[in-house]
Symmetry: C2
């Protein structure tokens, strides 16, 4: 059997999961708007989990095949798991998921993506028709923006440090 000690210094904050209404909308959005890459789909009995990440976090496997990436996905950070419960996309009774930022349901706040150049990223989002909750010029926090994903989750956008 395996060793009975564990070294928390090697632990990784591997992924964050939230639910999406329609993968036909959300997966292209995360790929085309944010630039994440889907490298794995994992269907269950009545749901499918989609795993996406930015390529840089795979290090020297950034250009590897999806299978190679799936084989090492647990050894990196910054993975996004999007869970689609089958049928929500066509269910007229489905009211949508809570973003976590309104009552009731408040708790979860947002995910954040850091970019090479905030001004250029915002320009590109505008060209793509992305909906903003807060543009950089709104309010006092000029160095950050918040955009909405297709389900209404908040995504903070801010520049990396030079």
């Amino acid at each position: 059997m395996s060793s009975s000690t564990t070294n928390t210094a090697t632990y990784k904050f591997n992924h964050t999961m939230f639910r999406i209404k329609d993968p036909k909308v959300s997966i292209p959005w995360y790929e085309n708007v944010l630039g994440m890459q889907k490298f794995k789909e994992s269907p269950g009995g009545d749901f499918t989990n989609y795993f996406l990440a930015f390529p840089g976090g795979f290090g020297d496997k950034a250009n590897a095949s999806d299978d190679e990436k799936a084989a090492i996905q647990l050894n990196r950070e910054g993975v996004l798991e999007l869970c689609h419960n089958w049928g929500t996309e066509s269910d007229p009774e489905f009211k949508g998921y809570a973003s976590g930022n309104d009552e009731p349901g408040r708790g979860f706040g947002h995910i954040a993506v850091t970019v090479d150049n905030l001004e250029a990223a915002v320009k590109r989002f505008d060209e793509l028709g992305v909906k903003f909750k807060k543009r950089p010029e709104d309010g006092k926090m000029r160095h950050i923006a918040f955009i909405y994903d297709p389900d209404g989750y908040w995504i903070e956008i801010l520049a990396q440090q030079k």
Copy 2:
């Protein structure tokens, strides 16, 4: 002014934010139970954001000072931002935050931490009195566990790939 192009391949999924009721409970929990390290506190007008991460994601700055880590926090992935709205910890009217996994408020699911050795991690969690939603031996998914953080958020625990 800065360039007007942006390279999404350099983008990073930097952090995930959720709200906590009491930092005096949650920060030690994330540090002592999970092994994350708090490297920054950022007070606002009526809230404080706490930034935590596993040291490995800082690369050769894993042992650097908090200030040095804060200076490069946006250039890595796997950061956790815990937002404390002042007063929740002592407000008898405060009902707690939604985990995202129950109605109403369903949307957000969980974060996941990958560990060197699942059996050893679970043994250590037991010694620390951690509450499990699902132990590895519960159900069919023997390779994963789910624990609760102090606010009731779900944290998936699974082993890294060898």
